[in-house]
Amino acid sequence: MMVARAAALTCLLLLAPLAARAVQPDEIMTDPRLEARARALSAQLRCLVCQNESIDESHADLARDLRVLVRERLQAGDSDNQIRAFLVRRYGDFILLKPPFKFETWLLWGAPFLILLAGGGVLFISRRRLKSLAPATSLSEAERATLEAMLGEEGS
C-alpha cells in the first residue's frame, strides 16, 4: 500500500513538467581546472530568458544549453575571451552580466568615480566658502534654552 502510494507519487513528480535545474552533475567536466573556468565563466553570463540570473544559477533549458556550449568550447581549447566573444556575436552584449566598457557604457562605469569626485568637489568649495564667511555660530545659550523648553513643554 505504502509502496504503491510512493510509486504513484514518484510518477506524479516525474510526469510533472520538471524544470531543468542549475548546473547538473552530468554537465560537470572531468578536468577540475576546466570545470572551475566553466563555473567562473557561467557566473558572468546572463540567462537570456530569466530575470537577472546567471546561467550558472538558472533552471531554464536555455541556460543548460549555454552551460553545455561553454563546456564544449572549453574542451575544444578556446580561451575565456574567445568564448565570451563568440557568445556576444550570437546574443549581443545582453549576455554579459559585466557590461563591456565602450561608448554606450562609459557613463555607467564612470558614474561612481564622477559622483565621488563631484561630491568631493562640492564639499571642498563649500568649505572654502564657509571659511570666508562669518565665524562659527553655534547654538547660543538662549537658543538652547528655547529648544529645551520646547521639548519639555508638554506636561509642565
Partner: protein, 660 residues
C-alpha cells in the same frame, strides 16, 4: 458584504486624507488653532479606516471568498491558514493596500506620540503624509482595486505562487514596508520643515526617532528577504544585486546617511540643507523602488509600455512628489544659514565623509539598476548590469566606510586629533592584523576573504573601544563599572552595537570564500564529504502536504562519526499551479550551515544534489540582528523619546543631561 464595507472604508479614507491634505496647512498659514487641531484625529481615523479595509480583505482571503478576483488569483481553499493571511500581501493589490496601511500607521503614530511638537509643524507633517496617502489610495481605487468582484465565482482559486508560500514571506514584506514606507514620515517632516520654515535642531531632534524606526525595520526587512531568497531559491546565494533588491538597498543607504547627519544637525546645527535633501531623497528612493517593482518596467521597457496604466500612475505620483519637494527645497534652501563650523578632522567631518561615501554607493546602485532601462529606452540596445558590475564598484566604495567607522565614533565634535584616535584604535587595528595573519597561516584561502575578515575584526573591536574606555577607563571593580555604565547614554551603546553588527555581517560575507560546494548525483546509501562533515544520503521519502506533495531526501550529517543533524531537502510539487519548488535542507552547525538541495528524483531514488558547506554564514544575518538591536538601544535612549515628553521631562529633572 464585509468586502463592500472594506471597499467603502477605503473610499472614506481617501476622503479623510483629502480633508487632512488641506485643512492643517490652511490652519498653519492662517494661524488658526482649530484648523491645525483637525490633523491628529483625522489621521487616527484614516488609519482606522485603512486598517478596516485591510482586515476586510484578509477576511475574504481567510474564508476563501472566491467571488473576489484577488482571492481567486492568489488563493486556494486547501492553502494553509498562515499563507491565506500572508497571501494578502503576496500580490500587487494587497501589497499596495499594505503600503497604504503602513503609511497611515505612521501618520497615526505621529498624531499620537508627538504631542510635544510645535503645533504648526505637526499639522504640516500630517498634511504632507496625507498627500501621499491620498495619492496612493487613489492609485489603489483606480488601478489596483483588491475588492473587485468576479461575475460567476469559481469553486476554486488558482493558489499562491509556491515560492511565496513560506514563513520568510510572512515576515519579510511587512518589515520591509515598515522601513520603506516609514521613510515617508521623514519626507513629510522635511517637506513640513520647508513649508513652515522650521529647519533647525528641533526638526532634527523630532525626525531622528522616526528615521531610526524606519531604519531598524528596513535593516531587518532586507536581512529577512535575503535569508528567504537564500533558502527558497535553492542555490545558496543570498544577494543577487537584483533590481528588486537594489530597490530596497538604496533607501537603506540613504536612511543610514540620514541617520548620521541628523545627529550633526541636532547637535551642531550644521549640514541643514544636506539633511533636508537626504530626508527627501530617502523616501524618493522608496517611491522609485515601488515604481520599479510595481510597474513591470524591470522585465522590459516593452512590457511596461504594453500595460502602462499602473506604471504611469505611479510615475505620475513619483514626479509630483519628488519634483514638488525638490522645487520647495530649491525655493527655501537658498535662504538657509549654514550653522556651526567644524574642522575637517572631527565627528562632523567623519560623518560628512560617511555621507559622501554612502550617497556615492547609493548613486552607484541607482545608476547600475536604471542604466539598462535608460539605454534601452534611448538607443534600443540591451545590456545587462549584473553582480560583477556591483562587486567592482559598490564594494570598493563601501570598504573605506568600514575603516572610517571606528574613527568617527571616537572623534569629538568640532575638532579632533587624528593621531590620538589612531592610537586608541591601535589595539583593534593590531587585533585585525593578527587575525589576518593567523587566518592566512592556518586556513589560507582567497586573499580577499583573509583581508576582509581582518577588517571585520577591526570594526567589531573598534566599535567598542569608546565604550570600553568609558566603562573600564580607570579601575575595573564591578561596582565602578556598573555605576559608569549607568552614566553612559544608551545611544552610545546603540552606536557601538550597530557598527559592530555591520562588522559581524562583513565577517560572515568574508567567510563565504572558505565555503565548499559539491554538485553530484546521489543514490540512497551514498556518502559524501563536505567541509568538515560526512553526509549520508539515506532515502527518498514521499509525503503529502496540505496543498502539495513532496519527495524528501533524508540525509544524515556526521562529524567524526557522530550524527550531528538530519536534513530533508525536498522537491515539492504544487498541483494547482503545476509548479515545482525545491525546499532546501539546512542544518546550522555552530555558525556555519550545511545546505543541500535536490532535484530530478529518478525512479530508483537517485537525485541530483547540490551540497554546500558555508562556514560562518549565519553571521551575515546575525550581524543584521545586532545592527537592529543597536538601533533599538538608541531608540530607547531618553534623548530620542521626544514623543513621551512628560516622562522624559521627569527623568531629566533630577539628574543633569549627560555631557556629549
Amino acid at each position: 458584504m464585509i468586502v463592500e464595507t472594506g471597499h467603502y472604508a477605503l473610499v472614506l479614507a481617501l476622503a479623510l486624507a483629502l480633508v487632512n491634505s488641506v485643512l492643517p496647512v490652511w490652519g498653519s498659514v492662517a494661524r488658526d488653532q482649530r484648523l491645525m487641531a483637525v490633523a491628529p484625529p483625522v489621521a487616527l481615523m484614516g488609519f482606522g479606516l485603512v486598517a478596516y479595509a485591510y482586515i476586510a480583505l484578509t477576511m475574504a482571503h481567510v474564508v476563501s471568498d472566491f467571488s473576489l478576483v484577488n482571492v481567486v488569483e492568489n488563493s486556494h481553499s486547501a492553502k494553509p491558514l498562515i499563507y491565506k493571511i500572508t497571501g494578502v500581501w503576496g500580490n500587487h493589490e494587497g501589497s499596495m493596500l499594505l503600503w497604504v496601511l503602513v503609511l497611515s500607521l505612521f501618520a497615526a503614530a505621529v498624531a499620537s506620540f508627538s504631542r510635544s511638537m510645535p503645533e504648526d509643524f505637526r499639522a504640516n507633517v500630517l498634511a504632507v503624509q496625507s498627500w501621499i496617502a491620498a495619492a496612493f489610495i487613489l492609485f489603489i481605487l483606480l488601478t489596483s482595486n483588491p475588492f473587485a468582484r468576479v461575475a460567476g465565482a469559481p469553486a476554486e482559486g488558482n493558489d499562491l505562487n509556491p515560492l511565496l508560500q513560506d514563513m520568510g514571506l510572512a515576515i519579510h514584506p511587512p518589515l520591509l514596508y515598515l522601513g520603506y514606507v516609514g521613510l515617508s514620515i521623514t519626507y513629510s517632516f522635511a517637506a513640513a520643515a520647508l513649508i513652515s520654515g522650521r529647519i533647525d535642531a528641533v526638526f532634527a531632534r523630532f525626525v531622528r526617532p522616526w528615521t531610526l524606526i524606519a531604519w531598524i525595520s528596513l535593516t531587518l526587512g532586507i536581512a529577512m528577504g535575503s535569508y528567504w531568497a537564500y533558502y527558497t531559491l535553492g542555490w545558496g546565494g543570498f544577494w543577487f544585486w537584483d533590481p528588486v533588491e537594489n530597490a530596497s538597498l538604496m533607501p537603506w543607504l540613504a536612511a543610514t546617511a540620514l541617520l548620521h547627519c541628523t545627529a550633526v544637525m541636532e547637535k551642531r546645527e550644521a549640514l541643514k540643507i544636506w539633511t533636508i535633501f537626504l530626508a527627501i531623497l530617502a523616501f524618493s528612493l522608496s517611491l522609485i523602488g515601488t515604481f520599479l517593482v510595481r510597474s513591470g518596467v524591470l522585465t522590459s521597457v516593452h512590457a511596461f509600455a504594453s500595460d502602462p496604466t499602473r506604471g504611469v500612475f505611479i510615475l505620475l505620483i513619483l514626479v509630483i512628489f519628488i519634483g514638488g519637494s525638490l522645487a520647495l527645497f530649491a525655493l527655501r534652501a537658498g535662504g538657509l544659514q549654514q550653522g556651526g563650523l567644524f574642522a575637517p578632522v572631527s565627528r562632523e567631518g567623519a560623518i560628512v565623509l560617511n555621507n559622501l561615501l554612502l550617497t556615492t554607493c547609493c548613486a552607484t546602485v541607482f545608476v547600475g539598476t536604471l542604466y539598462p532601462l535608460a539605454l534601452e529606452a534611448i538607443t534600443g540596445e540591451k545590456i545587462s548590469v549584473g553582480p560583477p558590475f556591483f562587486n567592482l564598484t559598490f564594494v570598493p566604495l563601501f570598504i573605506p566606510l568600514f575603516i572610517l567607522m571606528p574613527f568617527g565614533q571616537l572623534l569629538p565634535w568640532k575638532r579632533g586629533d587624528l593621531a590620538g584616535v589612531a592610537q586608541r584604535l591601535a589595539v583593534a587595528f593590531g587585533a585585525g592584523l593578527i587575525f589576518m595573519g593567523i587566518l592566512a597561516a592556518w586556513r589560507g584561502g582567497p586573499a580577499v576573504s583573509v583581508i576582509l575578515s581582518g577588517v571585520a575584526v577591526y570594526v567589531i573591536l573598534g566599535s567598542f573601544v569608546d565604550l570600553g574606555r568609558r566603562l573600564f577607563g580607570g579601575g575595573v571593580s564591578t561596582e565602578m563599572v556598573s555605576q559608569r555604565a549607568r552614566g553612559v547614554p544608551r545611544h552610545a551603546f546603540g552606536t557601538a552595537f550597530a557598527h559592530a553588527g555591520l562588522g559581524v555581517t562583513l565577517l560572515g560575507l568574508a567567510a563565504t570564500g572558505w565555503g565548499a560546494e559539491k554538485i553530484t548525483m546521489l543514490t540512497p546509501g551514498d556518502a559524501i564529504e563536505i567541509g568538515p562533515y560526512q553526509l549520508t544520503f539515506e532515502s527518498v521519502v514521499p509525503r503529502n502536504g496540505p496543498n502539495y506533495s513532496e519527495l524528501a531526501g533524508r540525509t544524515t550529517i556526521r562529524a567524526k562519526g557522530e550524527v550531528v543533524a538530519t536534513i530533508e531537502p525536498a522537491m515539492r510539487f504544487y498541483p494547482v499551479r503545476g509548479m515545482n519548488r525545491s525546499e532546501a535542507g539546512i542544518a546550522t552547525l555552530g555558525l556555519g550551515q550545511v545546505y543541500m538541495s535536490i532535484a530530478d528524483v529518478a525512479a530508483n531514488g537517485a537525485v541530483n544534489a547540490r551540497i554546500f558547506w558555508k562556514p560562518l554564514v549565519a553571521l551575515i544575518w546575525i550581524g543584521a540582528l545586532v545592527m537592529a538591536f543597536g538601533g533599538c538601544l538608541s531608540l530607547s535612549d531618553r534623548s530620542f523619546r521626544v514623543g513621551i515628553a512628560r516622562r522624559a521631562h521627569k527623568a531629566r529633572a533630577p539628574s543633569p543631561q549627560p555631557a556629549e
